[in-house]
Amino acid sequence: MTATEPQVSEVVKPSLNGSQPTAYPSGRANIVHTDQLTRLYGPTRAVDEVNFDVREGEIFGFLGPNGAGKSTTIKMLTTLVRPTTGSATVVGYDLATQANQIRNVIGYVAQEIGVDNRASGWENLELQGHLYHLSNTEIKQRVTELLELVDLSKDAKKLAGAYSGGMRKRLDIATGLIHRPKLLFLDEPTTGLDPQTRANLWEYIRRLNQEQGVTIFLTTHYLEEADRLCDRVAIIDHGKIMALDTPNRLKDEVSGDVISISFDSPEMPADPAKREAAKAALTGQPWVTDIKESDKGGLNVYVSGGETAMPQMLRILDQHNLPVVSISMSRPSLDDVFLKYTGHQMRDEAGSERPTMAQMGMNWGARRGRPGGR
């Protein structure tokens, strides 16, 4: 359990059936499969031999600081940037040879809002429909549906330039859905939005996934977002996937749960003897991984499987005649997970170590209002 040596969890390893599927099988198959996917910008290994699968129907997240390689991965999978080496299949199509087929079945919503401010919400969606070569009747029907879905029906005729940030992002996401994609890529969907709008957007994304059955691949540098929204999360740092699992299992792997107990109350001041006795009683239990004294005179007991450990712990302390005054349990955050796998805190890195624009290829020139990151 050394924090400095990143481990790659089991799921990350390339699957043995690495040969390219020619047809896309239905059912819960892998909608994205990458094999040693790599992108270099000069000497910078933006994405470094990455292997992962996205399952059909899930919300899959890439969690990492700016410059970790999140956007570059998305840009490769959406055919915007060519991989330097390695390969991938997206919705069953080969990235290197079937780019146009891929474009027909995926939706892409970039980090920067790509709506035309000088066109209305309706017109933005209509044009997008034409770009996918849909028929006029289909476009009309889809635009109506989507405006409904993202609650913009009332503002359909207004120019997008007059929309609020949250409205424009919703419109942007709707344009990515015009052609009923099987897979939607959302690059940092809530960056730059206020907390209220962000929470709203999570609701829309969940609904899309559950009601419309769209598989979602998103990137984020918000731990909370990955935790609350994603079925599975890949932790990416310096172009490499450090861990990949459900948020809960990732957190389990850190150090289990923390049970905080205390023996004192306003009436009963802290008694160091009790604390020592409790420590002795709990030491050696198979589910206890570590015991630390808390600042409040109690103990922080690190356990695996907090739900089952808690009653056992109470029983043992009762047997030793050590009545517990208060008890609480907390789960480790993804922050702890990130620290464990990368050896550093995520926010330490945020905003630093950005590649120069010239290295970024698709990031044509200086982009305005862009928080950076790839």
Partner: protein
């Protein structure tokens, strides 16, 4: 077929977007009119004063407007076209281009529609200039054919300039570069031409340099039918061939650069 449809829808989108910038609409309409009025007032007496010169007026007319309208039209098309490359840069910067690239839309259509929209927008300016000029007393000796020829020539000339501007835009990806280069190209082009004065009056090295100036070919092809009651098809053909060639070179080059350097990386 899809490519043609893509060009149509994207050109439409770009045109509508241009019209929706109110301040730009004001400038695009007011600026050529300002030039039309100021320049014609400035040179009015020069043209009418030479009307009875021995051996005929070098201007070919006593009516200043007849001489200046083609110049104002080509100047407007030139200046508008020179700026047009910036539109694709703004698409790059705003993320609109990335978003388009993730769709199956034809890559060629993205860049061609930008140039077409810009040239069609200039044609709107040409129309406004014609309308105001007619009100001010402009006359076309060959009637409607001269007007149609002017549109054709202005379109071809504009397409070449848009192609050049777009080429610079996709090459440098910087607005500043397009702006600097457009001034560097348009001003000498405008000065070293028969826009204000017939080249016969200018003479010397300027007249020689002007032979390589596409703006002069555009002026030659349009002024002839406006000033004379007959169309010189020889001059017309030479101008069309030269302007089509220039447009073909720059439009193809910018499309090629866009596809190879920007459309995939």
């Amino acid at each position: 077929m899809n490519t043609l449809a893509d060009i149509y829808y994207l050109t439409k989108r770009n045109l509508i977007a241009s019209v929706r910038i109110p301040i730009m609409l004001v400038f695009t309409i007011v600026q050529p009119l300002l030039w039309l009025i100021l320049f014609s007032q400035l040179f009015k007496n020069m043209v009418s004063g030479m009307a009875n010169a021995p051996g005929g007026s070098p201007y070919g007319t006593g009516n200043f407007l007849d001489f200046f309208v083609p110049a104002i039209i080509m100047q407007t098309v030139l200046f508008s076209g020179a700026w047009s490359g910036n539109s694709i840069i703004s698409d790059m910067e705003s993320g609109v281009l990335d978003k388009m690239m993730a769709t199956p839309v034809s890559r060629v259509a993205i860049i061609l529609s930008r140039m077409f929209a810009s040239v069609i927008y200039s044609m709107l300016q040409v129309t406004i200039i014609f309308i105001v000029a007619f009100i001010m007393g402009f006359q076309s000796a060959s009637g409607i054919s001269a007007i149609l020829i002017t549109y054709l020539i202005a379109f071809l000339f504009g397409l070449g300039i848009c192609g050049l501007s777009t080429l610079l835009a996709v090459w440098t990806k910087r607005t500043e570069a397009v702006m600097a280069a457009s001034t560097f190209v348009t001003m000498p082009m405008f000065m070293l031409s028969g826009s204000f004065l017939p080249l016969a009056l200018v003479g010397g090295w300027v007249a020689n340099v002007a032979k390589f100036n596409p703006l002069n070919y555009a002026l030659d092809a349009t002024r002839g039918p406006i000033l004379h009651d007959s169309i010189d098809w020889g001059t017309f053909t030479v101008s069309v061939v030269i302007l089509v060639s220039i447009a073909a070179v720059f439009v193809t080059a910018s499309t090629y650069i866009f596809r190879t350097r920007l459309a995939t990386s």
